[in-house]
């Protein structure tokens, strides 16, 4: 990124002051190396976001940000309905409520090592992954409706999981305000065979070792200790979310025009929060969140079944489930005033600090667990939300490593089979239906996740708790 347009505030904070049509500044969290690696398009897209009506605070850019569509991936922006604020389908993204959950297994590495390969094969056959895969679950119209309204709560009621899981999911496993009627027939049809499927791209299911604990108190509160084995699941709302995104992106082109909103980029299509299209999207998007929560819940159930086959006494407890493509109504103090705003987080994780009422009782005084998925074969992290995070970036943190090379470049640079055998030599078993898919997701195609979380920690967005190292990776 061209640094001349930026004002450097401190070691991890950069600012672009409002000018022209910008209503608020752009705030970027990055160190020197990450800012140099960041595409100029990220700044351009963040500046575009600041021109949208009703934006408050700033457009915040996370350290893993990269060029997206409309909003940068790793962008956070809040809108005040009282000031003509908008909601944008592009500000949430196609994969509504894409997110990560981590389960503690109670097992140690020496339990897993002897059965690592068999476990990988069993997970691969139990969890439908990749293009063209189908789930075992078929929902009729009534059940689809119940799923869209009930999320993970619905899944647990149907036997996919335990009631104790719900308290460890944002929104207690059920996004309030979902309006299934706003979800089109096409979106439902696209989902019919996809409940409990992982998807593809950067979605994965990993068995990981807690390799290092940085904050023993927080780690213990979350139930994590060095040497523990955990399972992490990264996926979203599947075809249903993609279809909702597609349809509302189109409806909002028209809605923005009718509301007289000048769009600097068509991808920023949006509608006033209090308009019919805005309300309809919120209802559909929340149903999409429920679909993602239900989906991760069903996959959790499948994973537990596999583990109980290998380890009859294993008890896989959910540590937490976070979503990183959402728009949520939250209360924040912005410029000295408490406001009810709609926070878009696109490729950014909510990171509430200690004491926030949305955090489960067990670790409310510690802060919310923030799970950062690494790329295939690299480390993942657990962080914890901080009190100062609200002032810094509306309680938001990064979500992953962020791409460094495009799929095309990655495909040209690496050979899938080679990536799999190299990782196996490093002790990571990778299973995927596609070697090309593996090449496109090669570890080197992503930024250094260690650098990204270091900046998030240093900037005070979230504090480092634990580093996770994969042993088994199932890739869609």
């Amino acid at each position: 990124m061209d640094k001349r347009q930026l004002e450097r505030i401190d070691e991890t904070l950069w600012r672009i002051a409002p000018k022209g049509g910008m209503r608020v500044p752009v705030i970027i969290f990055a160190d020197e190396a990450l800012i140099e690696e960041m595409d100029d398009k990220v700044a351009e897209q963040a500046i575009n976001v600041t021109t949208l009506p009703g934006i408050v605070g700033a457009c915040y850019v996370m350290p893993d940000a990269h060029w997206g569509y409309g909003f940068p991936i790793g962008g956070v922006a809040a809108f005040d309905p009282g000031e003509g604020g908008v909601v944008s389908a592009g500000g949430v993204g196609f994969d509504i409520s894409c997110g990560v959950r981590t389960l503690e297994t109670g097992l140690r590495r020496d339990h897993i090592e002897p059965v690592k390969k068999a476990l990988a094969e069993a997970l691969m056959s139990a969890v439908p992954v990749g293009v063209g895969s189908q789930g075992q679950i078929r929902l009729d119209d009534r059940e689809m409706e119940a799923m869209l309204a009930g999320g993970a709560q619905w899944a647990v009621e149907r036997g996919w999981g335990q009631p104790a899981d719900l308290d460890r999911i944002e929104e207690n496993g059920r996004m309030a305000g979902a309006d299934p009627k706003q979800v089109s027939k096409k979106a439902r049809q696209r989902q019919r065979q996809e409940m409990g499927t992982l998807g593809s791209g950067n979605h994965y299911l990993e068995v990981q070792e807690v390799e290092r604990v940085f904050d023993p108190q927080a780690a213990a509160a979350f139930g994590l200790h060095e040497g523990d084995m955990v399972v992490t699941i990264h996926c979203g709302s599947r075809g249903l979310g993609h279809q909702i995104g597609t349809e509302f992106m189109k409806k909002m082109q028209k809605a923005a025009r009718e509301a007289g909103i000048a769009l600097p980029d068509r991808e920023l299509a949006c509608a006033p929060l209090d308009s019919p299209v805005g309300k309809s999207y919120l209802g559909a998007m929340r149903a999409g969140i429920n679909c993602a929560l239900a989906n991760r819940q069903i996959i959790t159930h499948l994973v537990r079944q596999v583990f109980s086959h290998f380890f009859p006494h294993a008890d896989l407890r959910l540590i937490y489930d976070v979503s990183h493509n959402t728009c949520k109504q939250e209360s924040h103090e912005i410029e000295g005033k408490r406001r009810q705003v709609y926070v878009h987080r696109k490729g950014a994780t909510r990171a509430f600090g200690p004491g926030h009422p949305a955090i489960p009782g067990g670790f409310r005084q510690i802060g919310q667990p923030v799970i950062i998925g690494g790329s295939m074969g690299t480390a993942s992290y657990i962080l914890v939300g901080t009190r100062e995070g609200e002032q810094k970036a509306l309680s938001s943190a990064c979500h992953g490593a962020g791409r460094r090379l495009s799929r095309r470049q990655a495909h040209k640079t690496w050979q899938g089979q080679r990536v799999v055998s190299d990782l196996e030599q490093q002790g990571v078993i990778v299973r995927s239906p596609s070697f090309r898919g593996v090449a496109e997701e090669a570890p080197g195609a992503y930024k250094d996740v260690d650098a990204v979380v270091r900046v998030a920690d240093k900037a005070g967005l979230a504090r480092l708790v634990a580093r996770l190292r994969p042993l088994v990776c199932i890739k869609g």
């Binding site: 060029w67 993204g93 994969d95 063209g132 895969s133 696209r190 068509r266 991808e267 799929r407 095309r408």
Partner: protein, 143 residues
């Protein structure tokens, strides 16, 4: 099949598809073939099953919005039917787009599908006549 020229172009997180042709319809067909190529090598997809759809042109004659609608309709058919398509016949009238797609169900062994396409975006969206008789239709896909 002269119209089904296509290529991919760079986008950091995702990938761009670009089709060329003597008419907008041919360029659209090329972009759709480029979409299949994001998932698998199109030459390995047999054109043995036919799927048809029509789109109403509610785009005020805007070919760019129509391209996004069209690619999203193809993505929908791929997702719903779990199919891949390797031949496209597109006709664009004043009020409708007619599409005939040929392909086959996804076979994981045969096609080794690399990635699922979530949707077509308005990013780098362009439909234009680069020079007389040479149309280009392109946009970025979210994968």
């Amino acid at each position: 099949m002269g119209g089904q020229d296509w290529e991919h172009f760079e986008h950091k997180a995702d990938i761009g598809v670009r089709g060329f042709g003597e008419t907008p319809a041919q360029a659209f067909a090329g972009a759709a073939l480029a979409l299949t190529a994001v998932v698998t090598d199109p030459s390995g997809v047999e054109a043995r099953e036919k799927v048809e759809f029509e789109l109403d042109r509610d785009d005020d004659g805007d070919l760019e919005l129509l391209l996004v609608d069209f690619l999203n309709a193809v993505i929908y058919e791929m997702a719903l039917r779990k199919m891949l398509f390797s031949r496209f016949e597109i006709r664009i009238d004043d009020d409708k787009l007619h599409a005939v797609l040929w392909g086959e169900p996804v076979d994981r062994q045969k096609h080794a599908p690399a990635v699922e396409v979530k949707g077509a975006t308005y990013t780098e969206l362009k439909v234009s006549e680069a020079r007389p008789g040479r149309w280009v239709a392109q946009c970025v896909l979210d994968v």
